[in-house]
Amino acid sequence: MRLPFSRFERELLTEINAARAQLYPNSWAFVKAFDILFGFLGCAPSVDIFIHFFEVKRQRNNLWVTLNNVPGRVLLTPFQSSFTGWKGRFFKVCCSDLVPSALDGFPLYWVRETRALKSKPFKKLSPDDQVACRILAEAGVLTPPP
């Protein structure tokens, strides 16, 4: 993880309406891998493309959030099947007095009403995002879109 967050990371957290700590480790690994993959391909990552490949689910009895591959549209696989021992091992990140805006642009604190998001269909993506999906297909990382 790198600080400060990228524009994509900030926009995604805002869209999901969740604090960073509410996402499970594997879910954040998806976010980072997606960001890195698009950087490698020379495309700008967007929240809409991300939601095309991943669904956002809330845990029933608590405030944790998971990101899951959309069936039949798997772009990335989980880094590790199960992480253990990470709960209870937290840092806190503060902004300095000099630049209080350094943490602007995404939810800082735990949110009760996180947003569960269904996958966005290809047809509802913007033309630019559809082009990015085709670049992904040409790069051989997923099956071609319709």
Partner: protein, 90 residues
């Protein structure tokens, strides 16, 4: 000679009335250096001391105080905005 008055003790249950007991109990209990040296399992825990420093002029990464719930906000941090991240190495 003036003695410093300690800040009033914060009760997370009073501050975060919306939070479940499970979440309030989710406190940071950082590993000791000895525990890290003895750790034989997956390398998913990181030595917080490596991060407890100022990274640049804008952002500071700090270990949590003992018993600090991870659903806290700036009210429990002298009014300074913050967010929490967990220690995981991929």
């Amino acid at each position: 000679m003036s003695s410093r008055i300690p800040p009033p003790r914060v009760k997370p249950k009073d501050l975060y009335t919306w939070a479940s007991s499970e979440l309030l109990d989710e406190c940071s209990c950082l590993l000791s250096t000895m525990a890290i040296r003895k750790h034989k399992g997956e390398s998913c825990s990181y030595n917080h001391r490596a991060f407890a420093r100022r990274h640049d002029d804008d952002i500071t990464v700090l270990p949590c105080t003992l018993g600090e719930p991870v659903c806290g906000d700036e009210r429990a941090n002298d009014g300074v905005p913050l967010f929490y991240i967990y220690q995981v190495v991929f």
